[in-house]
């Protein structure tokens, strides 16, 4: 991006951050479901779940909950982008001497800020509920890096949804399967407790490697190959989603 594009992206990001600050309910709504899941699993179901690991159940499940938080949060990114397209403000920006990529980047950066705020709320609640970690600063930074990469990859998926949606509901519907994916992973129960084909799927879908990596970082344990599998998935999703998002963006101009 040129200096111009960076400046435009900064101005436009400031604009959509204002939207969030003026309707903070989107950040809170994003955090509500994950917090409810935390309560449900820790105080209702967790007692019956044997993870075979040390530490409390909330330590085990928090990484998956964080991914669910982000997967539901990006629906708002698609929603905000869709509204911009509907209201004509997107066309206004596109017909101005504004670096075109900056219009999308503003939504991506805003998505990062909003989702990290929701994640912070969920971690805060988890700490109140007894989540504990002795993770070093470096481990925390690694967790933050993974979550940022995860948010960015999913945000570009949200951009595709926002650009191609025909209705408001369509703009956010794509996130439902993403929210469910952690349930068929090692996020809540170990994969070895699942029947064969399900366990196979769970072990080979991206969420498991991401969850295992974050869990290991929080527990101050070695991350093994999980981290590379996780990074491989994240980078692949990011590159693909970005490519398709830019392609559908270009198609709009066709």
């Amino acid at each position: 991006m040129s200096i111009h594009a960076l400046g435009d992206a900064r101005v436009l990001t400031g604009r959509s951050l204002r939207h969030i600050v003026r309707s903070p309910d989107t950040i809170i709504t994003t955090a509500v479901t994950p917090v409810a899941l935390l309560l449900l699993f820790v105080y209702v179901l967790g007692g019956a779940i044997r993870t075979g690991e040390h530490g409390s159940y909330i330590d085990y499940m928090l990484p998956g909950i964080l991914l669910i938080t982000i997967a539901s949060g990006i629906a708002y990114t698609a929603y905000r982008l869709f509204l911009d397209l509907q209201s004509g403000i997107f066309d206004r920006f596109q017909s101005m001497p504004v670096a075109r990529s900056s219009v999308l980047w503003a939504h991506v950066l805003t998505s990062l800020a909003a989702n990290l705020a929701s994640v912070a709320i969920v971690i805060g609640v988890a700490l109140l509920m007894g989540f504990r970690t002795g993770a070093s600063l470096a481990a925390w930074l690694a967790v933050a890096g993974i979550l940022i990469l995860f948010t960015t990859a999913l945000t570009w998926l949200a951009v595709i949804a926002g650009l191609s949606a025909k209705t408001v509901d369509g703009a956010s519907a794509f996130s439902y399967p993403l929210i469910l994916l952690p349930f068929i992973s090692s996020a809540f129960v170990p994969t070895r407790s699942m029947p064969g084909p399900v366990a196979w799927f769970a072990e080979h879908q991206p969420v498991t490697s991401i969850v295992d990596s974050i869990r290991a970082l929080f527990a101050q344990q070695p991350v093994h190959d999980d981290i590379w599998v996780a990074l491989g998935w994240l980078v692949a999703i990011l590159v693909l989603a970005y490519g398709f998002a830019i392609a559908s963006y270009r198609r709009r101009l066709g």
Binding site: H4, G7, D8, V11, L12, R15, R18, H19, R22, S23, S87, G88, I89, D91, R92, F93, Q94, S95, M96, P97, V98, L253, G254
Partner: protein
């Protein structure tokens, strides 16, 4: 292109999913003039405006705005135009002032707040400056929308149905603004379905129908297209409405029975 032309199109074509909307549009808009593109709903006015403002690519043909080709030099085109779309494109969450400051920043102008204050005063929005645009009436939204488009004094302004849905007073305000703009030398290309709007504002009028420009000229030239009365009668100039309906009828979706253009006779 001639030195005095702000917009020139030749053979612009555009289809959506195989359905042709524009089928070879030729247009010449003189710099500093008000040009009205007249057409019924669905004629393709918005499609043409979107092509001229680099939001849509034509399937065929060429278009130049302020001397730059919209396809190959779109960035230059965007430097010299502004678009006021069919529906007011304001940010409802931001206040009126914030909307104006935002556009001034994006146009990389010095003193965005000063520019905003000046426009708020000019468009009688100072009182409402710190209210969210979402709370504005239709007329206020349109005024804010047009004010946003004028930031940076672009030499060519596209107004897509600027008065559709406005009450008569708001409509008169928009008309006054358009006349002011032309007075400053800005080229205004506006689209409208209202014959009286074209008649009132435009230096030149083009009628877009079934994907082509049926006729283009000054109001007087268009009126001359209809034959006037015979000698026994006192002549009555046909109104633009009569010209429009006569030209549009006789074509499949003209809405009127085909037939010879009636000549106007009014006995005295």
């Amino acid at each position: 292109m001639s030195a005095g032309a702000a917009v020139v199109t030749r053979g612009i074509e555009k289809s959506f999913k195989g359905v042709p909307v524009l089928r070879g549009v030729d247009l010449d808009v003189d710099a500093g003039s008000i040009f009205a593109l007249l057409g019924s709903n669905g004629a393709g006015k918005t499609t043409l405006v979107r092509i001229l403002s680099t939001l849509l690519k034509a399937d065929a043909g060429t278009a130049e705005v302020n001397g730059a080709d919209v396809a190959s030099r779109s960035a230059e085109v965007r430097e010299s135009i502004s678009l006021t779309g069919q529906f007011a494109a304001v940010d409802d969450v931001l206040t009126g002032r914030e909307n104006l400051v935002l556009v001034a920043r994006l146009r990389h102008l010095p003193d965005p707040r000063g520019i905003a204050d000046e426009l708020l005063a000019r468009f009688a929005l100072t009182e409402a400056a710190n209210r969210r645009a979402g709370t504005y009436s239709g007329g206020m939204r349109r005024r804010l929308d047009i004010a946003m488009s004028l930031i940076g004094d672009p030499p060519v302004v596209f107004l897509d149905e600027p008065t559709t849905g406005l009450d008569p007073q708001a409509r008169a305000e928009v008309w006054a603004t358009v006349e002011q703009l032309a007075g400053r030398g800005t080229t205004v290309l506006l689209t409208t379905q209202y014959l009286d709007e074209a008649e009132q504002l435009a230096d030149r009028i083009a009628i877009l129908h079934e994907g082509r420009i049926l006729v283009s000229g000054t109001l007087a030239e268009l009126k001359r297209l209809l034959p006037v009365a015979t000698v026994e009668y006192v002549e009555k100039q046909p109104s633009l409405e009569e010209v429009f309906l006569a030209l549009v009828s006789g074509t499949p979706d003209g809405g009127r029975s085909p037939g010879p253009i009636p000549s106007r006779k009014e006995p005295r």
